[in-house]
Amino acid sequence: MMQKRQMEILEHTQLTEEIFRLTLAGGIGAKPGQFVQVGLGPTWEPFLNRPFSVHNCTKTTLSLLYRVVGHGTRLLAQKQRGSILSVVGPLGKGFPPTKRRQAVLVAGGIGAAPLYYLMRMLRAEGKDVIFLYGAKTAAQIVLEDEYRSLAREFYLITEDGTAGTKGLVTDLLPQILGENEAEIFACGPNAMLRAVAQTAAEKKLPCFVSLEAQMACGVGACLGCVVATADGNYRRVCADGPVFAAEEVFRFGS
């Protein structure tokens, strides 16, 4: 249930220059694709909590996988094992259950974070998971073994070719999809999501994307995080998302 919890840091590991994994003590009963808001207190600046996807969630732990991009994540990275963080969540709707046998998960950079938990849950349901992990460069790929071990098929692709194939995830995606009856789940930069959505539309495959937005409340109250939908309305990324059906937020052709 959505709650504010004081959670202790069990493990805080620097995986690359910029990427950290944070594990907190306590189960929050999150679903894949949901997120939490993390407080950076006790100072009034930064003022707002920061949203992070649930990277993994067990009965007794919550893990986040995050990249240091600014002031708040820099402060977060300094928090020591044993310190207590204020965590609000689980928030948002998460990924919908899939009825198909096969799921294709497409990760762009730190967008890999929520897809680990999703993959774990899909595997538990006995689904067949293909994982496509794209990044700018090899140094941005984290936890490759963990991801690889859960996937039936695992593909690595980097823009500079320093790991896996050289190129963009969407170069590889059409081949992977082949003639499959798959469902696509993607998280990453907006440009990537749009390209994935386009491929999915062409293949007429269902596709769900997890979006980001500047957030304040994270619970649907402030209307600060809206995204314009294809029909011209605004929907809240926090409460109506962060996962949306691709066709709800991207429109092609026409």
Partner: protein, 307 residues
Amino acid sequence: MAPDLTVKIGNLLLKNPVMPASGCFGYGEEYASFYDLSCLGAIVVTGTTATPRTGNPPVRITETPAGMLNAIGLQNPGVEAACVKIRRLQAYKTPVIVNVAGNTVEEYLQVIEVLEREKTVSAYEINISCPNVKAGGMAFGTDPDTAAKLVAALRPATQKTLIVKLSPNVTDIVDVAKAVEVAGADAVSLINTLLGMAIDVERRRPVLANITGGLSGPAVKPVALRMVWQVSEALKIPVIGMGGISNAKDAVEFLLAGATAVAIGAANFRNPTVCPEVINGIENYLTRHGFQSVREIIGLARTQGDR
């Protein structure tokens, strides 16, 4: 004996002086899973207009030092649809205050007309201070005469408590406050947000799609407190103080400055249980200092103080 926390605003008797600030609490439901909303002094819902409003395009919010800017632009489903949400708040044992906005006097009137039929609604907070819409909004709140005319036009439309929400973006907020008091307001609430902006130096353009936005959070507290001090000194009607209140100490500062009740806005975003925490904290403060009622400390920094 636990101190008496009740205060009166117009003809509303509040069980305690703490309520959420409009626009920061949706229509209540979002925070209902964190605690029982019945503990609140009142529930204040988001700015509501006669017809649905889509609001401003994103980016709508950005963080600032010890605060935030917002340019939501009064996104709301319109008063008819809002009524459906408002009725659900009947489940809680606390008065519901609806924040009313509009482009024209007629639009404000229309909203009130619809809400008059709703027995869940106990009071109106007339928003003459929204900085994020083109027409109406703040335009009503920066000139005492215009503000007074609006209030005078709305007063006959309701017996319910009429609160007027003032803008801090003025040379003399006391002028506006006095004008709306004379025009028939039962109370004033202040402050709405300070008009501000932020620029993205990498993209070299304003962060917010609306260019400017409203500043709120701890950063604005000193300005808000000063205005509450000035207005509560000059007016006979009660003042609902807000602007940066983030814990019980902040709330007590506003009460001591002369506010009869306080509202909490942006702090809900940081701490979804801030409202009940502030209620408890005020109670503790009163107990610790031997006050029997919260009413004893209202304006105490002005009238007494051990100078």
